[in-house]
Symmetry: C2
Subunit: 245 residues, 2 copies
């Protein structure tokens, strides 16, 4: 499994994925699920993958091979807008699925989904979720985060505390807390996490930050938050119900 | 969908379920999913149901019809231990499934699962989860809670703050917070919630407490906790990473 999270913010975006790849609990590996496509000062794009690893690697490899190929309809460097670039990713996903899905289905699910975020000079920063069918939806101020993979455990903290106007710094905290909630509950999602923090208008260069389980900042906020939660529960007034009197 | 939660505590148990029944989002109703079987001062048992409503209602009705029928092998009042009583519930579930499953499958999933908790005079209080196959597992000090239905959204708060030694009063708070996290994320789980709070050794009588969305205590802890979470996130130190400088 995978947990991928994209936060769409007034100030930019934060895209994060775990690195656990597994084919059964006895066959696991660490794999980066984040890829960046960038042409410094002109466009930056970040892709986070979930699903069948052969499918997602094929999509990423094809997108990389076609980068800068003039005239190629899925050359991300030719996309006029992030919407057009997202269509290209969906199109390459369909291409890979139509070549492989029928052969793979007997062994397991061949499908994949993606978070795709970026900015092209002259346009706004945007964040999309691409479904296994190659169609996609876009984040907005009303729907300021999108998730792929194991999405449920990490959702409550976002619903309580995340908004479009959340700062990048707060968004980093919420991302790490959302991942912490997920790894506590699902063995197939595991650190390290790969995280891209993008400030709107900067146009890169993008760096993928790797956050290990023992990263001092992650350890610090994970422990501080757990302590704060327990204290918050203790501080709540008890019910004055006869059953617990 | 349903969310059912059983907390197994040194001091007793708390079993709670929502009341939303749905057959599609355009066909919803409020149904109690909690049933009590009790013979005051001698035994108390609480059953929480998830899954196909026809199946769960049939199981509960059959168990009620056979209560006190001397010689009937699924008369809960004849069970010598909670383990034996849980086997009876599993057995009735298998009886209902074998009569109905093949007819129902063409229209939807006929299966059901249950939380079953109780105490019989002379024995300890115990909590079980009964699977659709009629087999079951038991809660223990190491695994002090069991869930059925939509289990994921409400799990992080329990993993952070719930233990076997948690008091009944704290367990009530954690239960309501776990349900609050779930109803914020899944439309098919909804208040009111039905809650049974049992103090070990009391042997009843058991009362089912209904907690409405506007219940003043629920409103109070829901709001206080959300405020505390947001404050806890704000209070966490920001990362000193160059990307967010």
């Amino acid at each position: 499994m995978t947990y991928g999270l994209g936060l769409f913010l007034e100030d930019g975006f934060v895209v994060t994925a775990d690195t656990r790849s597994n084919a059964g609990v006895d066959h696991i590996a660490t794999i980066s699920k984040i890829s960046a496509f960038q042409n410094a000062d002109e466009r930056v794009m970040v892709l986070a993958s979930a699903g069948n690893l052969a499918t997602t690697q094929a999509v990423v490899t094809i997108l990389n091979q076609r980068l800068g190929q003039g005239g190629n309809p899925t050359n991300l460097f030719d996309a006029a807008t992030m919407f057009d670039a997202t269509k290209m990713v969906g199109s390459v996903l369909r291409e890979v699925m139509s070549a492989n899905a029928q052969h793979v289905q007997a062994y397991g699910d061949p499908s994949a989904s993606f978070l795709f975020a970026g900015q092209i000079a002259g346009g706004p920063h945007r964040l999309f979720l691409i479904y296994p069918a190659g169609n996609f939806i876009e984040a907005s101020p009303d729907t300021p985060y999108l998730q792929i993979g194991e999405v449920k455990y990490g959702k409550p903290i976002l619903d309580r505390a995340m908004q479009f106007r959340t700062s990048l710094s707060e968004a980093v905290k919420l991302t790490l807390l959302s991942f912490d909630a997920t790894v506590r509950s699902n063995l197939s999602v595991a650190p390290p996490f790969d995280m891209v923090i993008y400030r709107a208008g900067s146009l890169g260069p993008i760096q993928v930050r790797r956050v290990e389980m023992e990263d001092p900042y992650f350890v610090n906020i994970r422990n501080s938050y757990s302590d704060a939660i327990r204290q918050a529960v203790r501080d709540l007034a008890p019910a004055d119900w006869p059953e617990i009197a």
